[in-house]
């Protein structure tokens, strides 16, 4: 087949296919923007001389201080996780129509390999379109935002540019990765002239083993402080690496744990299902419990990070408060060295990133919901034709979304906060060696005998524990559940069109 024919076949389709292509391109554009932003931060040059010298042309310390730029770039790169999750969910949009189209290609004489290449090309081309649009947006945005203030300082690194090979790599590598992932996903899919066959292995009942991953993460975080105390100031890189791996394992455990939670809530719902809506939701949850892991992965990861950040914020706030009190007692009035304020500003940025991640994750959830409704449209249309109220189907979808998401959100918040709290130990103030008199006051006051009656004793300091940031955790949890509920409500609006009588005539 000629390349032109491949491209034409990859880009034909109905409105749903166009929506999938557009969303794939949008995801690729967002991912490209995030990677370009991270590369821009890394492209900032440290002034010659001292490697720790600040780049004073920036207003933000995250860009100014060379030691913080790596972490800032990493935090920006983390934003690509929900974006890539969105891309993965977009790939499922309109799958039934695409399957019919691929089957029609086979019926017209295309080989299985050609059909796979058409599907891979579709994703690759849409992603390429997205990364080019992302690069264009980056270059235009960079020129528009490049406005030094009265001190000649910049808010963003608009004076530096990643190298040309780096730019080319972003534009080309992302579509290649997207195409490779599509090819990987199609390994178990065979397009035949009569339809698309998925050789899916029937997944077993989920077990609660992801709890071990969470425990591993918490254990890693719990060991951090004793190791830090034992090592003094010289903490080795492997300790940080282990904590990071542990935190990653814990977040993975939360995401995979949703499979077990879905199954469990599904069984519970089924046991007490008094209405058809709950019965439908319960069976969907037990039939495909991993759908929850796929659907809520990005949302839960964002919540776990947000809860961890809340624990860090509580720690920094306490430290700031104690330092201010200490300085006030020492006569420095309300002096603060500004270090905690800097960390608190950094936490603001983390919260902003978590907010953006939640919005992207919720967009992915909407795509997933609509896809789920579209895939079941014929059965739904038949039920509605038989007299089942659309409201019943709508309520079943709401149950299906909300039943696992509430415990999953609690789990994510709990795991994230525990990790953050473990890495933010209690603050001890005032602990020191102090003289204690072991005799009468007169003897201890006598300079000749004092030394034999006074003993130096290590007095415990006052332990200050950061309070549980209930307000922030509740805001995160309630916000996530409310956003999920709103999204599910929006998804349910598609029921009307998906249960139209025309769906009964579709083959």
């Amino acid at each position: 087949m000629r390349p032109g024919t491949f491209i034409r076949l990859a880009l034909v389709g109905n409105r749903t296919d166009a929506a999938r292509l557009a969303l794939t391109a949008l995801s690729a554009a967002l991912a490209a923007l995030a990677v370009l932003a991270a590369l821009s931060v890394l492209a900032i040059q440290t002034p010659p001389g001292d490697p720790g010298q600040h780049s004073e042309q920036y207003t933000n310390a995250l860009l100014r201080e060379p030691g913080l730029r790596g972490g800032t770039a990493f935090a920006i790169l983390l934003l690509t996780i929900p974006v890539l999750a969105l891309a993965g969910q977009c790939a499922r949009l309109g799958a039934p129509a695409r399957d019919r189209r691929l089957a029609a290609f086979r019926l017209a004489g295309a080989t299985p390999g050609q059909v796979t290449r058409v599907a891979v090309l579709e994703t690759g081309l849409a992603s390429l379109l997205g990364t080019v649009a992302g690069l264009a947006t980056y270059l235009v945005g960079r020129a528009l935002v490049h406005r030094p203030d009265v001190n000649g300082q910049l808010a963003l690194p608009t004076d530096v540019l990643p190298t040309v090979p780096e730019l080319a790599l972003v534009v080309l590598a992302l579509p290649l990765v997207a195409a490779a992932v599509t090819a990987l996903m199609l390994r178990r899919v065979t397009a035949t002239p009569l339809g698309v066959v998925r050789r899916a292995r029937r997944a077993g009942r989920p077990r609660p083993w992801p709890a071990l991953l969470i425990a591993l993460g918490v254990l890693g975080a719990a060991l951090f402080e004793p190791i830090r105390q034992a090592s003094g100031d010289g903490l080795e890189a492997w300790v940080f690496g282990s904590v990071f791996v542990g935190a990653f394992a814990a977040v993975l455990g939360v995401i995979l744990g949703v499979g077990w939670l879905s199954h469990w809530t599904g069984r519970l719902l089924h046991r007490y299902a008094g209405s058809p809506a709950r019965l439908l939701a319960a069976r969907r949850l037990t039939e495909d419990p991993w759908a929850g892991s796929r659907t809520f992965a990005a949302l839960l990861a964002a919540l776990a990070i947000g809860a961890g950040a809340a624990a860090f914020r509580a720690g920094f706030e306490l430290r700031e408060q104690l330092e201010r009190e200490q300085n006030r007692r020492a006569g420095y009035d309300d002096f603060s060295n500004g270090q905690n304020a800097f960390y608190l500003r950094t936490m603001d940025l983390v919260d902003l990133a978590v907010g953006v991640a939640v919005v992207i994750a919720v967009a992915g959830l909407l795509v997933m919901l609509i896809e789920g409704i579209t895939a079941r449209r014929r059965a739904y249309a038949a039920l509605v034709a038989g007299g089942v109220p659309r409201a019943t189907l709508g309520v079943s979808i709401l149950w299906q979304v909300l039943a696992p998401v509430v415990p999953a959100v609690l789990l994510a918040l709990g795991a994230g906060y525990t990790l953050g709290r473990m890495l933010n130990p209690d603050i001890v103030t005032g602990g020191d060696w102090e003289p204690v008199c072991r005799a009468t006051a007169e003897l201890c006051a006598d300079p000749a005998n004092r030394d034999s009656h006074i003993e130096m004793v290590l007095v415990d300091g006052v332990v200050h524990s950061p309070g549980v940031p209930l307000e922030q955790l509740a805001l995160l949890g309630a916000g996530a559940v409310a956003a999920t509920l709103l999204t599910a409500g929006l998804g349910v609006l598609f029921l009307r069109s998906s249960t139209a009588v025309e769906e009964l005539r579709a083959t």
């Binding site: 058809p276 439908l280 034709a385 009588v501």
Partner: protein, 234 residues
């Protein structure tokens, strides 16, 4: 006694007319087959009679009450309580077991779970698929799925069953088996059946055959071209 009545039904999809003035009476307990070439308006007529679609013009009456003017909720309630609807394929909920699929209309009507399951098992047994009660549709053959769907359409003991090409996706033998059972049970229950088909052999099961062409009734009579099938109910 006339149970269902259509007067001058007109329905178009955009500029394409599907029905152009169909008038029809269906008596209680009657089995009516609507036949005709593809695109002649058979399914549209069934959808209008069942209250799934509203005609652009004309009237549909149920025991003398016009239902085409009713709200969608009222028509849904009518379909849930008085009608059963059966389609060609894809109508079972993939995640529910056969028994749960069949019990669904009863649960919607407020029947308790245990009673609904008992009734579902009875109907599955009548169609010879009781052993599949706890099996999901994906693990059944097309014929078994259609038997379950037919059991679901009849479980509420509807007064009218609307069947749109119910055996269209089945092989000849399985299709005849499903239809034989459906017609036998409908006659036992005195359920009226409006059956859409384009196969004369299937139409031969009916008391009356209505042939549609280009959105109007071309002629009416008995199964015209085919002899009744061996063991057929007529």
């Amino acid at each position: 006694m006339t149970q269902l009545q259509a007067r001058g039904l007109v329905k178009s999809y955009g500029p394409t007319p599907a029905l152009r003035g169909v008038t029809l009476d269906v008596a209680e307990g009657e089995i009516v087959a609507v036949t005709g070439p593809s695109g002649c308006g058979k399914s549209t007529l069934l959808h209008c009679l069942a209250g799934i679609l509203r005609p652009d013009a004309g009237e549909v009456s149920w025991h003398g009450h016009r239902i085409d003017t009713w709200s969608e909720a009222a028509r849904s309630r009518l379909r849930r309580t008085e009608f059963g609807v059966l389609f060609q394929f894809g109508q079972l909920v993939a995640e529910l077991t056969a028994a749960e699929n069949v019990a669904l209309p009863l649960l919607l009507a407020g029947t308790g779970r245990r009673a609904a399951r008992t009734a579902a098992l009875t109907w599955l047994d009548r169609f010879g698929v009781a052993q599949l009660a706890d099996v999901r549709p994906g693990e059944m053959s097309g014929g078994q799925q259609q038997r379950c769907a037919t059991a679901r359409a009849l479980v509420t003991e509807p007064r009218v069953l609307f069947a749109d090409e119910p055996t269209g996706a089945l092989d000849t033998l399985t299709g005849e088996q499903v239809l034989t059972q459906l017609v036998r049970l409908a006659r036992e229950q005195r359920t009226t059946v409006v059956l859409i088909t384009h196969e004369p052999r299937i139409a031969a099961y009916a008391d009356r055959e209505i042939v549609l062409r280009d959105g109007v009734i071309d002629h009416t009579g008995l199964g015209l071209d085919a002899a009744p099938l061996a063991g057929g109910p007529r």
